[in-house]
């Protein structure tokens, strides 16, 4: 049952967006998120929405995959919408006893929901079109400037990729330990939350022990292969900008420019 979990929701396809340099896509996500906060205006959201739909189209990722990402935040979305509708002061549209709905409240709630939905769809598009490996490579390269203030960027990226490598192994191991404990009469399925949580203890302890042992083995193996951190290391697959990446940057800047123009001349 645990085997079905897939981590990293990469959707394999052969689109231009898939082939873009991960740095471009990270930059795109950042700019897109910033652009959503330019202001609560129908034009701004409209342009952002059209741009997002265009990108989704080009990426050939089915829309339902992208919508799937929204499931996780549906509760958060509901909360913010409900609170905004009922608790904002302003021109009252209608009221039932003490509960009132205001015009401003509805506007803010809708704007908020749209912003959140676009935000999540935009960042899902990035994770759906970038392999976890490219993502860590991209992060390592784009955050390289942090090395100046002694942030161990390479080491963090290495840890991320090792984590990705070991997730399926640890899932398999959890499965194995679970079966072993069940064979001895452990019960993971019945009872309330507390009982279930307690039942996890005999699962987690052996899992942690084995994970630590694996980490030790892996560290030894890495040292034996002359791993000594990021300094002096070359790359087998170095990130290189191609023409399409330059083009993508142009598109992103054009998008940002349009959004700012809209903000300055239309909204204000």
């Amino acid at each position: 049952m645990l085997r079905d979990i897939t981590i990293g929701q990469y959707y394999p396809s052969d689109s231009v967006i898939h082939r873009l340099d991960p740095r471009v896509k990270l930059f795109w996500t950042l700019i897109y998120i910033i652009s959503l906060f330019l202001g609560q205006n129908i034009f701004i959201y409209g342009i952002a929405g059209v741009f997002l739909l265009m990108c989704i189209r080009i990426s050939k990722v089915p829309v339902k995959f992208i919508l799937r990402g929204l499931k996780a935040v549906i509760m958060l979305l509901m909360f913010s919408v409900i609170f905004n509708i009922f608790l904002t002061d302003g021109e009252v549209i209608f009221r039932i006893w003490k509960i009132k709905v205001t015009r401003e409240g509805v506007v803010i709630a809708v704007a908020m929901a749209v912003r959140l939905i676009f935000l999540i769809m935009g960042s899902s598009l990035m994770t759906l079109t970038t392999t976890p490996n490219d993502l860590t490579d991209g992060l390592e390269k784009s955050l390289g400037f942090l090395k100046i203030i002694h942030v161990p960027v390479h080491e963090i990226a290495m840890m991320m990729s090792i984590a990705l490598r070991f997730i399926p192994i640890l899932i398999e191991e959890t499965d194995k330990i679970m079966k072993a404990q069940q064979a001895r009469g452990a019960d993971f399925e019945t009872g309330g939350i507390i009982k279930k949580a307690k039942a996890m203890v005999p699962l987690l302890v052996p899992l942690f022990i084995s994970a630590i042992r694996r980490a030790y083995d892996l560290a030894t193996a890495m040292e034996a292969k002359c791993y000594k951190g990021g300094a002096g290391r070359t790359k087998m697959k170095p990130l290189k900008y191609k023409r399409r990446d330059a083009l993508a940057y142009l598109v992103i800047f054009a998008y940002l420019f349009i959004m700012i123009m809209v903000k300055v001349y239309v909204v204000a």
């Binding site: 399926p168 192994i169 193996a221 890495m222 034996a224 002359c226």
Partner: protein, 286 residues
Amino acid sequence: MGIVKSEDLTFEYIIRDDDDNVENVKTAVDHVSLDIEAGQFIAILGHNGSGKSTFAKHINALLTPTEGTIWVDGIDTKDGDRLWDIRQTAGMVFQNPDNQIIGTIVEEDVGFGPENLGVPTPEIWERVDASLEAVGMTEYRHHSPNKLSGGQKQRVAIAGILAMKPKCIVLDEPTAMLDPNGRKEVIATITKLNKEENVTVILITHYMDEVIGADKVFVMDEGKVVLEGMPKEVFSKVELLNTLRLDVPQTTELAYRLEKAGVPIRRGILTIDELTTELKKLRAGL
């Protein structure tokens, strides 16, 4: 001096209690002196706790001797400045295939060693291609290591070491966690590397069948080398091996029992072919 030479190599594990006081000292390797020639296939045998793995870790400078010295390609492993030279000269393959693969794709894992050495990118690709070819894993280069069998994972691990162009490969019980097919794959691969690429192979194992093809066998017990020689010589000492809790290959065992039962058969028979020719000769003689 050979590629690996040790003189009075001793290593002690110090066991401390909670207050950091020395509770016990365990001598894992006890005054081992040996000399391994370049290009040979060497096997080190011993049951669990005989110190063979501890010794292997000294060849890669993962451990440094408490006493005595070990030289790898003429470099003293105590020389901290040349640590990375030593590790490049003597690559090491470990027991658990899962815990030594770092990359999420086969070819990336093979490239990990050369990346660490600072090899330029085009050469990394050449090395990766050649190494995967040498272990016969080229067709799996884009696969995730998680989807491979144990034997295949171990071959990827060997390719990862090969890509660092070592003079010598130390394999620390590489087959202990594999099924019989995987074991055969791995042994065939390292035998081929030894013969064709002329890499020195040091195989640490407790499976007797794997060492028949070795040029020289060292048997360790309680941290000491108790027996050394050609496989033939070593396996002719069936009683001694039994007292060391080691089995001899089945064929050798059969020949030994026949001899005990009064059949005039020569000692040190290792393979089935040898045994059949010997038995045929006997029958013709009767």
